[in-house]
């Protein structure tokens, strides 16, 4: 099929443009945090996972050590391993393609692929979103880093406020039910309590430990992947562009949702609009790559 005729490729391309653009904010914030131009580019070129990249510079900006920054980044990247399993089952890439697919396995490419029913469409959606975001994210990271260097004092321009807004923007689409909201509040409080007592950067790891324990021991509700499971924002495969898909390309994108895990969460996904329209849930504010 020609890429121009592929609905999945169109979704992938629109996601790539929206996501790539905010590489500008990463680039500018990264040089404001104290990394230089090439370190910033190394994060976008080699690490390539927006949440982890923001985490890394967020810790550095707060005066944390490189070790703490690396740890926060690594923990935030765990969900990409879960995506990798899902995509491996869906796309079955072989040979060197697996190694390329792994590099562009991020929130948006996973969501684009899993939102499709037909195997060919899944592949096209995944690669167009993944490679498109990779290209644009790096171009705009470079632009943002130049801009950030040219601005001078980052505080005068409110770049530290921009970082706060960026993290809230990454968190927001995941808060769709009581449990994730409760976890977010608990982790926020734990962080504030820990700040005066431990070295900068460490409070984030303390909060991660708490969040990990909650996940480990979480009871109640419907077990993940069980029929009738309701997406509450805690499942790792967040679809950052649900509104986009629903408004621009409803027919091909909708029915595929239930096939994400192939384990019968059609029902759960079917009632997605109920919470998908919760306040603040927004396509463009989806998680970074």
């Amino acid at each position: 099929m020609n890429l121009r005729d592929s609905p999945a490729a169109k979704i992938g391309a629109s996601i790539a443009i929206a996501t790539g653009l905010y590489g500008v904010s990463f680039g500018a914030l990264s040089v404001a945090s104290g990394l230089d131009f090439w370190q910033t580019m190394a994060l976008s070129l080699l690490l390539f996972s927006g949440g982890s990249q923001f985490a890394f510079i967020g810790v550095i900006a707060g005066g944390g050590t490189g070790l703490a920054a690396m740890s926060a980044s690594a923990l935030l990247g765990i969900r990409n391993g879960v995506y990798g399993m899902q995509l491996n089952a869906l796309l079955r890439p072989t040979g060197w393609l697996r190694f390329a697919a792994a590099h562009v396995t991020i929130d948006e490419s996973t969501a684009t692929a899993t939102g499709q029913v037909e195997p060919g469409e899944r592949k096209r959606g995944f690669w167009v979103a993944g490679l498109g975001i990779y290209l644009l994210w790096n171009v705009f990271t470079a632009a943002g880093a130049f801009l950030g260097n040219a601005l001078g004092d980052p505080r005068q321009w409110g770049l530290d406020g921009a970082a706060v807004a960026a993290f809230l923007g990454l968190l927001w689409p995941r808060i769709r039910a009581f449990q994730p909201a409760a976890i977010a509040v608990v982790c926020a409080v734990v962080t504030l309590l820990a700040v005066p007592f431990v070295a900068p950067g460490v409070p984030i790891l303390v909060a991660a430990l708490v969040a990990g324990l909650v996940g480990w021991f979480r009871r109640g509700g419907t077990p993940d992947h069980a029929p009738g499971r309701v997406g509450d924002g805690l499942e790792p495969d967040i679809e950052p562009y649900r509104h986009d898909a629903a408004t621009r390309l409803p027919p091909p994108a909708r029915p595929g949702r239930g096939e994400v895990s192939g384990q019968g969460d059609v029902l759960a996904r079917g009632d997605a609009p109920a919470h998908g329209d919760a306040p603040g849930r927004h396509p463009e504010s989806g998680v970074a790559p």
Binding site: L46, G58, G77, W216
Partner: protein, 103 residues
């Protein structure tokens, strides 16, 4: 301080984490507990990073213009503004409050 080492280590770990999903048989890794932990970790880390960037200064908790940025960003998100707009609103709020004399 030179962060090169940590940038490269973080990049290597990020890539290996992604690759692990493709190379390890799904049966080994695919358990609900692992998915849950990945989900709660992501939310907890993002909440913590938001707070640290909004209110921590070294080892002190401070209320400065960044808290204004947090509130402004929340309003923008509530109004369903796109990510980039939210970030710009945050910057404008912090810069504006500093112009008005808030630290």
């Amino acid at each position: 301080m030179n962060f090169w080492l940590w940038v490269l280590v973080a990049a290597a770990i990020a890539y290996l984490t992604k690759l692990l999903g493709y190379l390890v048989p799904a049966k080994v890794l695919a358990n609900p507990r692992m998915s849950r932990v990945a989900g709660t970790l992501t939310i907890g880390l993002l909440a913590s990073l938001t707070v640290v960037n909004a209110a921590a200064s070294g080892t002190a908790v401070v209320l400065d213009a960044r808290v204004g940025a947090l509130v402004a960003a929340a309003v923008a998100l509530w109004l369903k503004a796109p990510f980039l707009v939210v970030v710009i609103v945050g910057a404008l709020a912090a810069a504006g409050l500093r112009l008005l004399g808030w630290p």
